[in-house]
């Protein structure tokens, strides 16, 4: 799951293959992802992992890092 997310961010959002991001890297506070990119990423996650992410779940704690996204999605998929 992590690899899929990182691959997407790398290829579709940052469009930069030479400068890899890590799964614990803060993507939001640093400004690495802009607002549009954050919305696109959420759309990608919903589609790829077949979950519905409601507005109240769109919070920093769930999307700050790829690690955070993974644990949020895992919890979402089992519930």
């Amino acid at each position: 799951m992590k690899d899929k997310i990182i691959q997407y961010i790398q290829a579709e959002i940052l469009q930069d293959g030479d400068d890899p991001i890590t799964s614990d890297e803060d993507l939001l506070t640093s400004g690495l992802l802009d607002s549009m990119a954050a919305m696109r990423l959420i759309g990608f996650l919903e589609e790829t992992f077949e979950v519905k992410i409601p507005p109240e779940d769109m919070v920093i704690e769930h999307f700050m890092t790829v690690d955070a996204m993974e644990s949020y999605l895992a919890q979402k998929q089992t519930s």
Binding site: D26, L28, T29, G31, S35, A38, P55, D57, V59
Partner: protein, 517 residues
Amino acid sequence: MLYLLPHTILNAAERSPEKVAFCCLKEARTYAEMTKQMNQLSNLLIELGVKKGDRIGIFLNRSIETAAAIYGTMNAGAAYVPIDPNLSIERVQFLIRDCGIKYLVTNQAQSRKLQKVVAAGTNLTHIIGLDKDWEIPTISWEEVSQFPSNSPKVNILADDLAYIMYTSGSTGIPKGIMHTHYSGLSYAKLSSGLYGLNSGDIFGNHAPLFFDISTFGYFSVPLKAATTIIATDAHVKMPASLSKLIEEEQISIWYSVPLALIQMLQRGVLEERNWEQLRWILYGGEPFPAKHLRALMKRLPQTRISNVYGPAEVNQCTYYHLPDLPQEEESIPLGQVWNNTEMLILDEKDRAVKQGEMGELLIRSATRMKAYWNNSTLTERSFYRRKTEQGVDDIFYRTGDLVNIDEQGRLQFFGRKDRQIKSRGYRVELDDVENALLEHQMVNEAAVFSKKDEDEVNIICAVVTLKENQDLEEKQLLDYCKNKLNWYAVPQQLSIVVDLARTPTGKIDRKQLAIEN
């Protein structure tokens, strides 16, 4: 003593040293700590050779370091130049070159982007805020804290340069708006007075440093020894987190572009939030669509809401406190000119318009910029000089905004004289976007216009034709725009077509295109 912007911090530190001045995530700085950190950074800059009037680039996201970075710079007699870290490498290089920046203040979070900027080539001699040395010498924030914390001896006056904010220019070249300690402090005094800011207030700062709305949180709040909560870039992207921040930090005054408030209305789960501490919402940067404003006012009956208007060249110049729920479709007035400010409404030949007629708004105020950086032609063109008997001209700034005075004596906004629009609160010159597209070697014609989406928010649209036998995809052209333009000026809709709608005389018909697309 109160004639320089850093005096606001020093005075607050004397009155209430333990009061929190700025807070971002878990990090807070009291006024005493701010004084110390500001002096340390100033002493470091002076030791590195910074002289009065030098420009220091501030390359920071929304973070706690912003406060020390700008005050340390101004306190050393230099002017701070905020640089948007989301700009393309080319644009960052341009600003550094145009403004003659040799020193940059940043933090570790920006190192990824900054590395690319440095690799692309700049005239920087020092970077402050990075842990490791690069090919350019760096000084970490930890090392800054080793410097003496006594007040530096610099001879700065109210009329000296304090900061330069860049905004897009119609020719495609950004222009630097130069503000002095006097104009910045005048804004702080007028705005804190108008909105009754007091030491008990907790202000929610949404604007990044390079946006002039940020001066309320960074200047007006310290003037009254109140507290500024800096919302992070993460909060800005996650409306449900932003709305929670307002509740948790008990924010009493909020100021942002309408879009931030609209996003919180739509995705901020406001029904679960308690905002009873919030006494006043200011919005500015662009008009607030009446239907959303209505929804916001219904949701927050106990909160006052005000429209703030003023180009960055004069900070702010009018105010309008909304009295009751606006009707659908009604446009919200700009309101009244505030204190220490005079306005003129002139026609195309600089003659005063008749009562109620539309004309361009001109502003004379203590909050006016000194000039555009290194561009006396543009400065003079943007000023209107009224002769006086004394032989010293009164100087007015031409806003380029078309207004009239309605029957209730309020200023109403009708649009622009030129083709400038606001997108997410940022100024975008549509001609600038068009020119950028035309510079692409495969592009034959380009028409750029704005339209309102279903939420009545301005979006930028581009329609392009290609030169013969050229093959280019829309995505490639958008990627090109991202490198060429500020991120907020990149068209949100772009289509490559065979031919464009034309007027009977053969000119591109942008009005028709806006209807078709």
